[in-house]
């Protein structure tokens, strides 16, 4: 049984858990079994937060935290460092304006960088980068289709109002395409 393991890094308050959860729902819609959960921490807002996502064709039994992710997704450029590539087996997907700088900070070759903060500020007017990074992950991995993701994101944010939902969909799409391109 193949399990795709994704680890998300960010800070309390940045929506790291939501990032994993949105992707979980999207992947579930595509027929996968998914399991996502936050790092089991006692951190307060601002402290580093991690969340996990496992995607598989079959039910996932293993509930351990992910120590050997296939992907590491980093929502906050300040967090780029050794920690986020610990045990990493595949790609680092980083929020950073510069691919080179990002690589430099982590020492990880297989890195994709996207300036998620910029996208977020542009469209959401707030530096909440989780949806952008979700889009980037999907665009890069193609594990979930853009449309499924858009639908998921829309539904997710609908309760906060149509406007918010639409903007987040826009963010996702933009990030998806930027990475894909």
């Amino acid at each position: 049984m193949v399990i795709i393991k994704v680890r998300f890094h960010g800070r309390g308050g940045q929506g790291v858990v939501t990032a994993a959860d949105i992707l979980a729902v999207a992947a579930f819609k595509e027929g996968y079994w998914t399991l996502s959960f936050p790092m089991f921490g006692a951190e307060k807002r601002g402290g580093p937060v991690v969340s996990y996502l496992k995607i598989s064709e079959e039910k996932v039994y293993d509930r351990d935290e992910i120590h050997d992710p296939d992907y590491s997704v980093v929502l906050d450029p300040m967090l780029l460092g050794r920690d986020v590539v610990l045990g990493l087996k595949g790609w680092l997907i980083a929020n950073h304006p510069s691919l080179e700088k990002a690589k430099e900070r982590t020492g990880w070759r297989d890195t994709v960088a996207i300036d998620a903060t910029k996208i977020a500020l542009e469209i959401l007017k707030r530096p909440i980068t989780n949806t952008a990074m979700v889009g980037a992950f999907a665009g890069f991995t193609k594990i979930v289709k853009l449309n499924t993701l858009k639908e998921t994101v829309y539904e997710w944010f609908e309760k906060k109002g149509e406007e918010v939902a639409k903007r987040n969909v826009e963010v996702v799409e933009k990030a998806y395409k930027e990475v894909e391109g």
């Binding site: 309390g12 308050g13 006692a42 951190e43 307060k44 807002r45 601002g46 402290g47």
Partner: protein
Amino acid sequence: MFFGKGHSACYGCPLPIAVRNVLEALDGRCFVVNPTGCLEVTSSQYGRSAWGVPYIHSTFENAPSVASGISYALEVLGRENEGYVVVFAGDGATADIGVGYLSSMLHRNDNVLYICLDNEAYQNTGNQQSSQTFLGASTTTTPAGRVIPGKTLRRKDMIAFALAHGTPYVATSSIAFPRDLRRKAKRAVEFVGSKYIHVHCPCPTGWHFDPSKTVEVARLAYETALFPIVEFEYGRLVRVKKIKRRKPVEEYLKVQGRFRHLFKHPEGGRIISELQRIANENAMRFGLD
């Protein structure tokens, strides 16, 4: 250094503001007792302690008793002059789960300075209502819903509670006024027996406001008279912090996410007037205007 940098409280957390000012005022001559809660969790991880003074955490509810125990031990071991016994406890620990033990400590009039850091909810577990949460506030256990517009109960009056126990020194303060707090901490330790200071600590994370506004929100609570700043010695009101120009409660409510629904919910208006009534009553009771 009595309380170290590197603790892990949220951006803009009010608690360290209160703690460091008290510790500095008392020159670090403190045995600190701290129940489970935000302060504890952000300052006392093994190998990451932020405390430069002797510190003990036991359970969520027993801080008053642990403090009594320390004061008895110091007395009997001839170490009374080593330092003051100071409790820093959340509102939940103080007014809810630990209230019986507080009652007992105050009743015995044990030689302890008890400081309640009131952020009006169980913030450590994620903003669940406590008995100190204001009417109308939306918390995770009194969420503003279709039927119920946030918290429906009034606050437990901890000043009246402490006074009912004949506590020699009882006061309120706020992180908006560190000098006030420092003075009160110093004044308090001049009393033998129990002293109780209730400190208002607006929590950006739980109350939903920007972390840079912690002090401003605290000041508004005082300026609207929702959180009066008062001082009692031997049961007598000896001093209040007068309000120059009292503001309507809306000014306080509208800057916080937890009250946002009041401006929309059908019951909101009623609750806002009730809160205004409480503010007026405070102003009357303590002569704040």
